[in-house]
């Protein structure tokens, strides 16, 4: 089941904050967040494992509520470099010996930061 991301698009001014949500209809083991700029590969931002943890990287942080099967990405004091499409990738479980399960990605949230 593909996770649902909201909003589909958001336009910010430099310095403004934004929240991107990711919801799944199935139980999740982990949620992965990526940013992709036009014509480039997705760049890993962070991973959240089940346990309701919150992680942060500079001015970008995220939370994971496994009971609600939701994750949110928080971007504070946005910079021009934050522009791009943000994808959440969800992982439903790990029932094999490999290092990671496959990811099901949402359709993305396009973020545009204006000067």
């Amino acid at each position: 089941q593909q996770p649902v991301q909201s909003p589909q698009a958001v336009i910010l001014r430099e310095g403004e904050d934004a929240v991107i949500n990711c919801s799944s209809s199935k139980a999740l083991y982990s949620v992965h967040w990526y940013r992709q700029k036009h014509g480039e590969a997705p760049v890993f931002l962070m991973i959240l494992l089940k346990g309701g943890e919150q992680k942060g990287h500079e001015k970008i942080s995220a939370s994971f509520n496994e009971k609600k099967q939701q994750s949110s990405l928080y971007l504070t004091a946005s910079q021009l470099s934050y522009s791009g499409t943000y994808f959440c990738g969800t992982e439903g479980g790990r029932d094999y010996g490999g290092s990671q399960g496959n990811l099901i990605f949402g359709k993305g949230t396009k973020l545009s930061v204006k000067p």
Binding site: H32, E40, A41, P42, L49, G89, G98, S99, N102, F105
Partner: protein, 112 residues
């Protein structure tokens, strides 16, 4: 430390042809996953290789096949190409105990 590399960068094929895409994982990574990304969409999981075996597979037909070599590099093969196979093909690598998947730059496949 080189990241994930893919070749070729771009490919143009005609319907019915066959194509092979290549991926070298990030140093220290032993797991390779392949994704197809259509324009304006998120990546879609094709399959994953670990210890030279296909460990998981997404909802893709048997025309899509792959291989992993002892040095962990991988190939994606697509037979009997269709117009709908035109997309960006991404390879991602990961390694125990790390959970993160790192993507390569992708191969842009155009089927005419």
């Amino acid at each position: 430390d080189a990241g994930v590399t893919q070749s070729p960068t771009h490919l143009i094929k005609t319907r019915g042809q066959q194509v092979t895409l290549r991926c070298s994982p990030k140093s220290g990574h032993d797991t390779v996953s392949w994704y197809q990304q259509a324009l304006g969409q998120g990546p879609q999981f094709i399959f994953q290789y670990y210890e030279e075996e296909e460990r998981q597979r997404g909802n893709f037909p048997d025309r899509f096949s792959g291989h992993q070599f002892p040095n962990y590099s991988s190939e994606l093969n697509v037979n009997a190409l269709l117009l709908g196979d035109s997309a960006l093909y991404l390879c991602a690598s990961s390694g125990n105990p790390s959970y993160e998947q790192f993507f390569g730059p992708g191969t842009r496949l155009t089927v005419l």
